[in-house]
Symmetry: C2
Subunit: 339 residues, 2 copies
DNA sequence: TTTTAGCACTCTAACCGTTAGAGTGCTAAA
DNA sequence: TTTAGCACTCTAACGGTTAGAGTGCTAAAA
């Protein structure tokens, strides 16, 4: 579809614009990227590329800047090359994650902070999807009069606690029995499985003679309704400092603060195939994020994918550097939680 | 120190500037604030106020803007008046907090979000200071080979969990015994008390015959070292949208992202007297926050102050609206956790 | 047929002088 | 003590000009 020469010119323009957000002129391309062609020829090529929708002109006599389609082409053609990971980043990440032996939350936080500092973009991580989280243990505690604390422990290293309103008085002994029952029944199941199992049990409930079990189910149902996924975010200020958003900062800040939007998007994305995914500008289904690009990857335990890490930056993101970084981060997280 | 008339002029300038960040001229003051004085007289007064350091001029022939000293005077003179709380805010806050029966974290998050949305500034909350948090219960769980999960439950409704590396194998039975021991020993003590008690016990350790207890102490010591206080933050985007920081946004974003700075500051502040505290611009000891003002108040359980809520905004903050809002928020939180 | 040189054209950003308007300080009168 | 009047100053906005960068087109060269 695109001749080799056209491809090279397009990539040159994209790279130059990523490096510095000024429209790229034909003369500049010949000089900086040493084609054996004159500016005039480059102009012809660029005019062709513009016609095909890969480049655009801010105004009649300015250089060209890449369109989202241009970035897309660039990113796709990147995949053919061997990705080179920044050795410094690789080392730092390794040393940071190696020492962590606590829960997955701390692990992800450390990873996102490192990635944010080195990539200079905003970094997010989704801890765990409930549909793949399996219960290790659940324990209930009596807390004051009519409140119960449920502590959930998953096999992936997630600890969740929730305070429940139990308007029927239960002694700690009762709670222990309930906990034991829940553990024997549901240990090893995914949270989603437990939820649906509970709904089934609820209908059978009347047939049950043990009143404790029916109480157990009521409690458990509430306990499992924690906000399914939190979003860990680092490097907000990196994004804000970029010249790309000088005007629109407030909208972007709002979109990111409202983590809901991003979570919904990630949900859609992570459903698709494996490996690193890149969403560029207008490809983004959410209106608020159409000026941003996302690079994300999922991390796994064994071969079950649990959650995702990724980077949000301007469409003018340095994809060639960022993509391998995100990939490495996801792999490193996978390695730690699988050991 | 200041005549009644001068006081009124100063307050008029401050109010006008808070309302709209344009230098305030003498003519404008006479018109808008209906003194029975000519602009010329106001000019004289304003010149006096400038000499005294309450106002300043951006350039020779512009109006005046308040200095930090000017804001300080304004805030101090506000205290004499009856604070009027926005009825709408009062209602919304009440309805939001009333329905919450879960832990203190959720409570504070809801409160900060409401306050951020209504005040249009950034809102923070410090959940609990360890020196005033008392232990309700601690429970240890075996998790995989050599890891233990410690769940801490305080009397204030805080639930904390931490994964510990226990390189000596312990059965769940052992862990239960340890938990029982810790509960019987330390239930009701503040976290700080427990910490110092542990250090004492450590020295006696050799004399102890029960090896489990020494293990318990080792575990407990680690479990209690959670990051002493988290910071809950809402309304980042509100602050970013203000015209006051058009250039310096990145620095401010960084200062706030690095929650450590703010926590340190709040620690200093909350040590001082009761009631609402206001720190204006350059009064701020931290370099990064010298362009910002802080309004904060502590919330209490009974008469023990537990943590704080507050607002961070530009020095040009609407103090007369914000101060009573913060006060009400703190009081509402106190009411909920004390019931 | 493809590439290149040359030229006319266009658009922007920067510069400059001018001006209108807002605001001040000072002085003399009320 | 207050006010009116006046001269002065500073800024922001406007408009015209210019330099420079970059394009598109055409005709010649490869």
């Amino acid at each position: 579809m695109l001749s080799e020469r056209n491809r090279k010119v397009l990539c040159a323009v994209v790279q130059s614009y990523i490096n510095k957000p000024d429209p790229v002129g034909s003369r500049f391309v010949t000089k900086k990227y040493a084609f054996n062609l004159s500016p005039a020829t480059i102009r012809n090529i660029m005019a062709d590329l513009e016609e095909m929708g890969f480049l655009s002109q801010p105004h009649t006599s300015a250089g060209r800047i890449p369109t989202d389609k241009g970035y897309r082409f660039y990113v796709d053609s990147l995949c053919r090359e061997k990705p080179t990971v920044d050795a410094k980043f690789s080392n730092i990440l390794k040393s940071k994650l190696e020492s962590i032996k606590s829960d997955i939350y701390t692990l992800l936080k450390e990873a996102t902070e490192t990635l944010a500092a080195m990539s200079h973009y905003l970094v997010f991580a989704v801890p765990l999807k409930t549909d793949s989280t399996t219960l290790n243990r659940i324990q209930l505690f009596r807390y004051r009069n009519k409140q119960t604390v449920a502590v959930l422990l998953t096999n992936e290293g997630l600890v969740r606690s929730k305070m429940l309103d139990t308007n029927f008085g239960l002694s700690q002994k009762d709670l222990n029995r309930i906990s034991d029952y829940l553990n024997s029944e549901f240990s090893g199941c995914t949270i989603d499985e437990i939820r649906s199992a509970l709904i089934k049990q609820m209908s059978k409930e009347k047939a049950l003679c043990d009143i404790l079990i029916s109480k157990a189910i009521a409690i458990c149902k509430e306990a499992l309704f924690f906000p399914s996924t939190d979003l860990i975010v680092s490097g907000f200020s990196e994004l804000i400092g970029l010249p790309d958003f000088s005007g629109r900062i407030k909208e972007i800040a709002k979109a990111i603060e409202d983590k809901h939007t991003i979570l919904k998007l990630l949900d859609r994305l992570s459903a698709s195939t494996d490996g690193v995914k890149v969403v560029i500008g207008s490809e983004n289904p959410m209106e608020e994020l159409k000026k941003l690009s996302i690079v994300m990857a999922t991390y796994k335990q064994g071969d079950r994918s649990l959650g995702s890490v990724g980077v949000i930056g301007p469409t003018r993101m340095d994809y060639s550097k960022t993509i391998p970084m995100v990939e490495l981060t996801a792999k490193s997280i996978s390695a730690v939680i699988s050991r």
